[in-house]
Amino acid sequence: MSLVGLEFAFFFPLVFLAHWLGPRRAAWQNAVLLLASVVFYATWNLGLLGVLAAATAVSFGAGLALDVLGTPAPEAAPTTPGRRRRKAVLVAAIVAELGLLGVFKYSGFFAESFNALLVGLGLPDALPVLRLVLPLGISYTTLIQVGYLLEVYWGRAPACRDPLAYAIFVGFFPQLIAGPIVRARVMLPQYLVPRRLTSAGAASGAGAFLLGFVMKAFVADWLSPRVVDPVFADPASFGAVALWIALLGYATQLFCDFAGYSLMAIGTGRLFGLELPENFRYPFLSKSLAEFWRRWHISLNTWLFDYLFAPLTTGRSWFRGRAGAGFLVVFLVSGLWHGATWTYVLWGLAHGVALAGHHAYDEWYKRNCRRDRRWVAWRKATPYALASWFVTQVFFVLTLVPFRAPSIGAAADFAKGLLGLGGAEGLGQRFGLQAGACVLFFAGYHLLEVGAGPAWKGRFLALPAPVRGVVYGLVLAFLLVYVPVGASTFIYAQF
């Protein structure tokens, strides 16, 4: 089941009614959501539900064990038995969680890579290559659970003692396919108390869901088969302009697909009285790569920075104080998290190197600012902002070539094509009213956040309710006419 599929139109009202018409108790509400999540998961693969259940039981039990063992006083020596036992529980639980992810997601990749190395050395294959079905959302649920364990270990969040609340914290169905990657401190307190449906929550939930649906079902699903897929499938048949259009189309598709999904998940959460974390904040307005990653897939990037980058660069290892090396590690991990292929490794490496480079440049620039205040003025000037925005966006878009390509070779061919000749031949038939509407929507979505945009938004929201209702009705009618039949699955569901 998918949030954008027709089946959700049957599923959601049943869950919604059961959730709100039952007793207003957290246990009832959590039980309804857990049952709904189990059904949601089972429609993908009932057999793999056991994997998620086992992983959840391990992290729940480990959280309780960490709690029982207590948080030692800060002044206690690291080698005290209490600390050692807690660390052992933490390490064992994280190894179990990551081990599960490793077996399902990475064993094939590492075995293939190792075998390729052996073959390169003239030796026979040594490792069997497992082809396992990836449990739905395992990349997301694993990070949620590891984050929880670290928070409990560090004493930043209490261990959850309610198995129902914990299970729904890990596997709440809107976040199951593609996040957001929720945090214990934000979500668990919400699951432990009865929720109430407010008028504001219902309105903003429905609004977020509708906006997300437009992004996914109209923009992303229209662009994919008409502009993106045909060109990426056979780049040699298209000219350079067509390749650039397809690449920009893919950037738009990827954003609308994933941000659209996140908004639909957030909207669904609000309709159950829950506030899931924001996952995208207008990333295409970013004027630096660091800013971009604070705006794109926020829940993953904050997770990586809080639980990987920060401990790495502030701990006692070689990485201490070496932010550049930290960026490299974080984005290599991010690349591998997206998928067990060399194209994702290349993508992660490119971003890691670029962030390290940008960090070094930023430090150098700040030193100049301290020496000469004119550097501060230059940075605030419009040309600098425009150049920064342009370089950031072009770099991000270019790195989508390996991200989208099926192999390093195909990525290289596509990249060569971008520098070649030729126009948009072959794409001409694919444009029309919908293409214009997609571009307008994408541009408008971002521009409403800059300059006078927020004021315009405010004016619309201040219109009388009937007028807004008419606008929403027209949007729905437009969607019914123009949303392609058979909306596809979400890109980020595969990760």
Partner: protein, 369 residues
């Protein structure tokens, strides 16, 4: 005041206005692309339960042509002979067999407290078919999602399939059907996938583009021609043949006279190559099959009163006027036995009396046992 100024009153008012706007747009678009209600298996079975027909026309969407024939037959016989069409959209023999086993037989074999059949009148079955029904997949697409028993499912069938396979594009067709049925009055819902609204609006704004229409017509015609020509290499998938055999065997066991009817094809879509290969092979083998099983065989593929103008824009289905002419023509000719004028097989007695297994008294166009 709640955050964002939303009170429940405003939420309700906004929602009502949105729905009212949607309804107004829908009504306005009725003129551009009016919804066309189509008979589906569910409704057909309800009609069967209520009507106790004497003739059953089982087939794909083409079986809907027999609604007009049913009217003509009723008129001719004063209502004593009644046809019930059971169209399985996008069906093939395997889906027909499923519909027979799961939807038709329970009704056919239902008995009252005394043990007598509740609906004993059925004497003839028309198996409405064409070459496509015998192929495993939709030639050219390789998509199994198009063979749709889901169009005939009930909720219990859907849930059983989801339990076994999870949610798949195949079983999601059931939800599509339920959704469309629930909104059968809505142009916006019924037009999804057909794009008649956008075409109609374009025409209303820009006028008809004759050249583009002609090009589109020619293009689709070439597509149809090559599809029928290519069909020869896909004919008679073993699973479909087995299902066909099961269907005929089941009706014969019930003592019902069976007629295999090859449905008319739009003349323009048939090249000489298609006639010599796909259609010839299909017709010959079906005729042989009918002979072996002792059932009637009527081939209307080329022999019919229809012209290209009688077919819908999809080049596949016959327009209402064409259906009326086809009905009169068939009832005057190869299917005259339905009115009891020619041939005859089961005799006048009801099915319960076990008449007819020996059926198959031959056909107007061949198929002597």
């Amino acid at each position: 005041m709640p955050a964002g100024g939303w009170t429940w009153g405003k939420v309700l008012l906004t929602g009502m206005c949105a729905l009212a706007t949607l309804a107004a747009v829908d009504v306005a678009l009725h003129r551009v692309a009016p919804p066309k209600p189509l008979l589906e298996v569910d409704e057909a079975m309800a009609q069967y339960e209520a009507g106790d027909p004497t003739v059953l026309a089982l087939g794909s969407s083409h079986a809907r042509s027999f609604i007009a024939m049913g009217r003509a037959l009723s008129e001719r016989t004063g209502g004593t002979e009644r046809i019930q069409a059971v169209p399985v959209e996008w069906g093939k023999y395997t889906p027909y067999a499923w519909v027979l086993a799961h939807r038709i037989l329970p009704i056919l074999e239902e008995r009252d407290a005394s043990g007598a059949l509740r609906r004993p009148s059925l004497r003839h079955v028309l198996l409405v078919t064409e070459w496509w029904d015998s192929t495993a997949l939709d030639p050219g697409t390789g998509s199994i999602t198009m063979a749709l028993p889901a169009r005939a499912w009930q909720w219990k069938d859907f849930l059983a399939d989801v339990r076994e396979h999870g949610l798949t594009p195949y079983n999601q067709n059931f939800l599509q059907r339920v959704w469309r049925e629930a909104w059968s009055f809505s142009t916006l819902v019924q037009d999804r996938g057909y794009e008649n609204i956008t075409k109609g609006l374009k025409e209303a704004i820009r006028g008809k583009d004759e050249a583009a229409e002609r090009a589109s017509y020619d293009n689709r015609m070439r597509g149809w021609q090559s599809m029928v020509e290519d069909g020869a290499s896909h004919l008679f998938d073993p699973a479909q043949v087995q299902s066909l055999d099961d269907i005929v065997g089941t009706f014969r066991r019930l003592g019902v006279d069976v007629t295999i009817v090859l449905y008319p094809r739009m003349p323009g879509t048939l090249t000489q190559k298609a006639k010599d290969t796909t259609l010839r092979q299909f017709s010959d083998r079906m005729q042989g099959f009918a002979r072996e099983r002792g059932v009637r065989f009527v081939d209307m593929t080329f022999t019919n009163p229809l012209t290209d103008a009688d077919f819908e824009v999809d080049f596949d289905h016959v327009k209402p006027e064409g259906n009326r002419r086809l009905a009169e023509w068939a009832l005057d000719g190869d299917l005259a036995f339905l009115a009891g004028r020619v041939g005859g097989c089961a005799g006048p007695g009801p099915r319960a009396e076990g008449a007819n297994a020996a059926a198959a008294t031959g056909s107007a166009t061949g198929g002597e046992p």
